[in-house]
């Protein structure tokens, strides 16, 4: 019997801490575990007992890469429960802030985390020695996303202005207008970046997948929309925990999500969003997707990077549109009147749908919190990808096999810091 094992004790260039163990006996995978050893931080536990207005300051701390996603799922859900009518223009300003995060997070992933793999570099700094202009331009686009977040939120990591009821302060039009020439420049760069993404030697990996994303009739979904899947399911935030359910596996501090009725895994993120919302892509974003060879339906996870490039383009085009028509919300926020009940919402984080639920009492105190981040929902799908992908490449040498495994995982841009925090808390009333 021949035994072979692949051990990746630290998966590099992902956010957070994970490891991969694979055992192969006589050409058969006998064990495969994506271990999440990132320690739990118990967010859901200590949210209980806190005031509702503290939530948008607490939940971004789950993830430094997508703090806005956490703030937006929380404030929308609480506003719906409280029946808050936010000032006109709030939706667009939140969408702009979120576009900044999509740009920052997706460019980080394409250039700093994923691309070095394909070209055989250990990191982006080494890659910059051979592709200096490209890396510089990409970093500049990322900076535009970060600067947008800082202009609206005060800072790009853990913004301070988003509140339940609006923004503590809204930027003036003249604070945002200087972004227009920078965004126009970035938009012109995107087809070239799509060509770079297409030029990367990615493996081909056809597999069926149930893709899940928010959908929306009028705009590419970011903060508002119902849920849909490529298998024809439709649901919304209020039934999220019935349609999907979570299981605890021994090797992971993150729970795995499955469809409740079929017990099968599903796939969230940019590729899923494009599959379900292709008709809502903005003009240049569509051109970028086509240039990168991405035509729906497409379930090959190696197209995720092309999907990210298309979504960066969409976020740039949307940012231009919003800034051109921008009028500051006046007043920037309304004071919410808390009500007892259940606050649920989903938004589309860079890595996929982020679900929040808060049980709130009549004073606005959080009694229970439930957060299901996209990475935990993708974990089972990642393990399945590895099980399907590995048999065809088992003849490769160890270092290449390891690199391929990491690439399969990295398609999902997993954010393990996020995934580890969704913990189920039973109502604790003392």
């Amino acid at each position: 019997m021949t035994h072979r094992s692949v051990e990746v004790p630290v998966i590099a260039r992902v956010e957070g801490e994970g490891a991969l163990h694979v055992a192969v006996d006589d050409g058969e995978i006998t064990d495969l575990r994506l271990e999440i050893y990132e320690p739990p931080r118990f967010f859901e536990a200590f949210l209980a007992g806190r005031a509702f207005h503290e939530v948008p300051d607490i939940v971004p701390r789950i993830c430094g890469i997508c703090p806005v996603a956490y703030q937006m799922s929380a404030v929308h859900g609480l506003e719906r429960l409280f029946g808050v009518q936010v000032p006109e223009g709030t939706h667009e300003l939140r969408r702009l802030l979120y576009c900044g995060e999509w740009i920052e997070s997706h460019v980080l992933h394409i250039f700093l985390l994923a691309a070095p793999d394909f070209l055989g570099f250990a990191n982006a700094i080494e890659m910059a020695t051979e592709h200096p202009e490209l890396v510089k331009r990409a970093l500049e686009i990322k900076r535009i996303g970060n600067d947008l977040m800082a202009a609206i939120g005060g800072r790009e990591i853990h913004p301070v202005s988003p509140r339940v009821g609006g923004f503590s302060k809204a930027p003036r039009k003249r604070d945002l207008e200087p972004f227009l020439p920078r965004l126009e420049w970035a938009l012109e760069e995107m087809p070239g970046i799509a060509d770079f993404v297409t030029s990367l030697p990615a493996p081909s990996f056809a597999r069926p997948a149930e893709m899940v994303s928010m959908v929306n009739d009028s705009e590419y979904p970011i903060t508002v929309g119902d849920m849909a899947s490529t298998n024809g399911r439709r649901w919304d935030a209020t039934t999220y925990e019935r349609v999907t359910h979570e299981v605890h596996v021994e090797h992971s501090n993150a729970l795995h999500s499955l469809m409740s009725d079929t017990g099968t895994a599903y796939f969230l993120g940019p590729l899923a969003r494009i599959n379900l919302n292709a008709s809502l892509l903005t003009p240049v974003a569509r051109e970028v997707a086509e240039r990168a060879g991405l035509r729906v339906p497409e379930t090959d996870p190696f197209f995720s990077m092309a999907a990210r490039a298309a979504e960066v383009t969409l976020a740039i085009e949307e940012s231009i549109r919003i800034i051109e028509g921008y009028r500051p919300p006046e007043p920037p926020m309304v004071e919410p009147e808390p009500r007892a009940g259940s606050a649920t919402w989903t938004t589309e984080a860079p890595r996929g749908t982020l679900y929040h639920r808060y049980e709130v009492d009549e004073d606005g105190t959080i009694l229970e919190a439930k957060i299901i981040p996209p990475t935990s929902q993708n974990l089972r799908h990642m393990e399945e990808d590895l099980r399907r992908f590995l048999p065809d490449v088992l003849d490769r040498p160890d270092d290449e096999l390891t690199r391929l495994c990491e690439m399969v995982v990295r398609n999902y841009d997993p954010c393990i810091s996020c995934a580890t925090h969704f913990l189920r808390l039973e109502i604790e009333r003392t």
């Binding site: 890469i65 900076r143 990491e406």
Partner: protein, 266 residues
């Protein structure tokens, strides 16, 4: 540190959100310049080349939160010439230290995880300095990018960096922001929180919530707690203002405890 050889720099992560190490990657233009002055030899979020120690400068993000991390941080200290802790988690246990005051860690795990025996976690979330000597602490949630790059720059020129510990209030006055306590009656931790953010929250029309931890001197917390009560907060709400992002830092912890004791007193 020799000036001819680029110093070997490592970045490690404990329990955290990744935001502080992300400040490096967000440095963008400076990142490529910095890469010419230092050799980043172990930084898992950014590179798949992970070299063993020794390291000249080690930056640590996150709090010590598992038994494995207790061993890991001691090992890191042995292998590092200079250890800098970055951010609220590494310097005061972070927002996850909110579990510390409850004394209910086991209950949290039991009620929170379907299979508690799979989970290994310490009762408390600890700052790095509970375990090893730290050469420089950079606070903030997240750490300020300017302070971070400035500190690395100082070390490269052979000087131990200095960081201001004056309160946010000073920065607010310097920038001419309207005081949110006076103008809006809004609770603000600015009088007792160290600056580093540029008085960000008052500049955005809201109260400071303590990201950079206690300022020096830190003896104004009692007076500020009383002011919160005068503004109409309950003892519990006032205590929660201190028991927040950097709530496990001793001056804030003591202030929160005192407010809760007062409320509980007949």
């Amino acid at each position: 540190m020799s000036t001819n050889v680029r110093p070997r720099v490592a970045v490690f992560k404990m329990a955290s959100c990744d935001g502080c190490q992300l400040q490096f990657l967000d440095a963008e233009r400076a990142l490529l310049e910095l890469a010419g002055a230092i050799e980043i030899v172990n930084f898992a979020e950014a590179s798949s080349r992970l070299e063993p120690g020794p390291y000249d400068i080690t930056l640590v993000e996150g709090s010590v939160s598992t038994p494995e991390q207790e061993d890991q941080i001691r090992q890191i200290r042995r292998e590092s010439n200079v250890v800098i802790t970055i951010g609220a988690c590494a310097t005061s246990g972070g927002v996850q230290a909110l579990r510390n005051a409850t004394g209910k860690h086991d209950e949290f795990v039991r009620t929170v995880y379907p299979t508690p025996e799979y989970v290994r976690s310490l009762d408390d979330s600890h700052p790095i300095s509970d375990y090893v000597t730290v050469d420089l602490q950079l606070t903030g949630c997240p750490v300020d990018r300017g302070q971070l790059l400035g500190a690395v720059g100082s070390l490269l020129s052979g000087a131990m960096p200095r960081v201001s510990d004056s309160p946010v209030c000073v920065e607010c006055k310097r920038r001419g922001f309207v005081c949110v306590v006076v103008a809006k009656g809004e609770p603000c931790l600015g009088p007792v929180t160290r600056t580093g953010c540029g008085a960000l929250c008052p500049g955005f029309g809201r109260g400071c919530y303590g990201c950079f931890g206690p300022a020096q001197p830190s003896n104004n917390t009692d007076a500020l707690g009383r002011r919160f009560i005068e503004l109409g907060l309950t003892g519990k709400d006032a205590a929660d203002r201190f028991r927040f992002i950097t709530g496990w830092a001793p001056p804030f912890r003591e202030a929160a405890d005192a407010l809760e004791r007062e409320e509980a007193a007949p």
